[in-house]
């Protein structure tokens, strides 16, 4: 992971430096389309041609989601007949189904939303605490612990997947046997976000770089004023490292929103499903190879529904997506 040799240099978006050090294209933002000059035109045409390849699947998907049953795969960019496939009166199959009638789709979306947000917030702050400790304090075993932290980045998640599952299983058994306890364990959503309380190696590493970019004088001055370590962390380090914290937050929201494996392992009741697992359930049910019920328009509508929030997040935080990604290569 640490092929660089420049770890001590804070990345360009570290505190104080701001995005000014980056070229416009890496600073994010939507970018404006200036008036092209004549010599640009063939080049722009090439880029536009490529853009079609990258955009078309989205257009196809959105279009397919507004086609009636039976026309889903006619590949027309503009649907011949527009059809709202999301909500509608409840009729039994074989009548065309509506997305929100075939499963607790509202629950799935809400579960994904709160698990992503909560997970994002928790991992941002738990990682920040740890990153701050590694960046600021000098203490015995620091180098060893940091080496271990980097080592865990290499660990395939499968190695711990089974025992962690069994651990949750034991917790679940225990809470079922002691009925005064809330039920925590497999079959609940706790395993999806509770691990975020304990920081994550990748984010700790990322944030430590930012914290190290904060001049030590700031902290020394605060100590002179008699501030506690917590105040130094909360009032100085965290606000100055805000860009890194936002990057952590949106990366984790994205990771949680993408995750299929963990919900698949831990969740059992349809109402507790997250959006990706819910969509996978619909694919299994309506796909030709999974029973062949043939309501493909429902799958298309569901796919649009799980893509859209990410597009929204990207639209709002594009700057941080791009900056966060582009600094990864440098620290690497």
């Amino acid at each position: 992971m640490t092929a660089g040799g420049q770890e001590n240099q804070p990345p360009a978006i570290a505190a104080g430096a701001g995005p000014r050090g980056l070229p416009q294209v890496l600073r994010g933002g939507w970018g404006r389309m200036p008036q092209p000059s004549a010599k640009d035109i063939p080049f722009i045409a090439l880029l536009l041609g490529l853009s079609v390849l990258f955009i078309y699947p989205f257009l196809w998907l959105i279009s397919a989601s507004f086609k009636p049953r039976g026309q889903t795969f006619d590949n027309a960019l503009i649907p011949h007949d527009w059809h709202w496939n999301y909500t509608g009166p409840k009729h039994p199959s074989p009548d065309p189904q509506y997305l929100f009638n075939v499963g607790p789709v509202g629950d799935w979306m809400w579960n994904s939303i709160w698990i992503s947000l909560l997970g994002g917030i928790l991992v941002t702050f738990s990682s920040a605490m740890v990153a701050f400790a590694f960046a600021y304090f000098r203490f015995p075993l620091r180098n060893l612990l940091f080496a271990i932290l980097l080592g865990t980045l290499m660990l395939p998640p499968q190695v711990t997947m089974i025992p962690v599952y069994l651990l949750w299983n034991h917790i679940g058994k225990f809470t079922i046997e002691h009925s005064w306890l809330p039920h925590i364990g497999t079959g609940t959503q706790y395993p999806l976000w509770v691990p975020n309380l304990f920081g994550s190696a990748f984010y700790i590493f990322l944030q430590r770089q930012f914290f190290m970019g904060i001049p030590r004088d700031y902290f020394e001055a605060a100590r002179m004023d008699g501030d506690s370590y917590w105040t130094m962390f909360w009032r100085i380090a965290v606000p100055l490292a805000k860009p890194a914290l936002i990057v952590t937050f949106i990366f984790e929201v994205q990771a949680k929103w993408f995750d299929l494996l963990n919900p698949l392992i831990y969740l059992r009741d349809e109402v507790t499903f997250t959006a990706p697992l819910g969509l996978k359930t619909l694919v299994d049910r309506f796909n030709a190879t999974g029973g062949g019920v043939g309501d493909f328009q429902v799958i298309m509508a569901g796919t649009v529904l799980i893509v859209l929030p990410m597009l929204l997040l990207f639209a709002l935080f594009q700057k941080y997506f791009i900056q966060g990604i582009s600094t990864q290569g440098r620290k690497g």
């Binding site: 640490t2 200036p34 795969f73 400790a133 980097l150 395939p156 499968q158 651990l167 298309m300």
Partner: protein, 326 residues
């Protein structure tokens, strides 16, 4: 690891006694308080589970044991022997490697090409970068759905498009020899993250190197080969490792498109898309053969380590670190 050395620049008192005395300082305890979430998480969710996983890999731990019907028995190397015996292990490893070999270079080449175009695009780059990045934010389950329908051999738009230029496309999702290329193509489509990393690296190449090369009369290709490539090689190497690890663990796209709980015999899915991570998941959570699945996990760990080690050794020869003495 360079960054560990970097940490060493902190003045540390030599000698065991002074080292121990560090624990008497208040700052040490505060530091450990800050570290507590991670240390706790590491012990309970990483180190402990690793030890348990190692233990399980030598037992017959499965549904009977979890349900309390039977005792756990140690079975020696039986699970590891089964890794050799089970033809599906070889199959899944082969599938995973074929896919990795297509997906990693494909992604890097396309991402580098796009990054070079964006660098040249100058004023227009921001707009196109946004477009090229969009597939990266598409959830893998959605990508799996798109695989199924865009690439359907008969009605899919990909083959419709190909037929416009006179090519009869293959049966992407039905032909076992095209399933892995199809999945790799969708990954190349989502190369936006790699593209941005490489673009950042391209901007990091000092302009004066190009100017010097141009003065020597170097052609565009030579400038690319002798200046650009060496200068961005650390970023390329980083992408290479990250993508390789991602490919070895690939799960969600293939699982969505070709596996599932569908009742019509599709339960165990298409063997051409059976990646190692999917088979491991099936062994652990479909058949609840936790002992065997644990052995599989350790094999994956070993493979990841070997592949990364080889990458690092190879990189010693090819990766150029600016300002480093290596």
């Amino acid at each position: 690891m360079a960054s560990v050395q970097a940490v060493k620049t902190a003045p540390g008192p030599p000698g065991a006694r002074r080292w121990l005395s560090g624990f008497r300082e208040r700052e040490t305890w505060v530091a450990y308080a800050f570290l507590f979430p991670w240390i706790f998480g590491f012990l309970v969710l990483t180190l402990g589970p690793m030890l348990f996983s190692l233990y399980y890999s030598f037992t017959d731990y499965g549904i009977q044991q979890i349900a309390g019907v039977e005792q756990t028995h140690t079975v020696g190397l039986e699970n590891y022997r089964q890794l050799l015996d089970d033809p599906k292990i070889a199959l899944t490893l082969k599938n995973t490697f074929i896919y990795t070999v297509m997906m990693v270079p494909g992604t890097i080449v396309v991402a580098l090409g796009l990054a070079l175009l964006l660098k040249r695009a100058g004023r227009f780059a921001g707009f196109f970068r946004t477009i090229f990045y969009l597939p990266q934010i598409t959830p893998p389950v959605a990508v799996g759905v798109l695989v199924l329908y865009l690439f359907n051999g008969q009605i899919g738009i990909v083959n419709k498009g190909l037929s416009l230029i006179g090519i009869q496309g293959p049966y992407w999702t039905a032909d076992p020899s095209w399933i892995k290329p199809t999945l790799a193509i969708m990954d190349v489509w989502a190369c936006g993250g790699t593209m941005v990393i490489l673009l950042a690296a391209l901007y990091g190449v000092p302009q004066h190197l190009y100017e010097a090369a141009a003065m020597d009369g170097a052609s565009a290709w030579r400038r690319f080969k002798d200046v650009t490539l060496p200068m961005i090689s650390p970023a390329l190497f980083f992408c290479f490792i990250i993508l390789t690890i991602a490919a070895l663990n690939s799960f969600a796209q293939a699982y969505t498109a070709f596996f599932g709980t569908g009742s019509a015999g599709a339960g165990q899915g298409n063997e051409a898309a059976l990646f190692y991570a999917i088979y491991l998941f099936q062994q652990a959570f479909r058949y609840f053969d936790m002992g065997f699945a644990s052995a599989m996990a350790w094999l994956l760990f070993a493979i990841t380590m070997v592949v990364t080690l080889v990458n690092v050794l190879v990189s010693r020869r090819f990766v150029f670190y600016q300002g480093s003495a290596r």
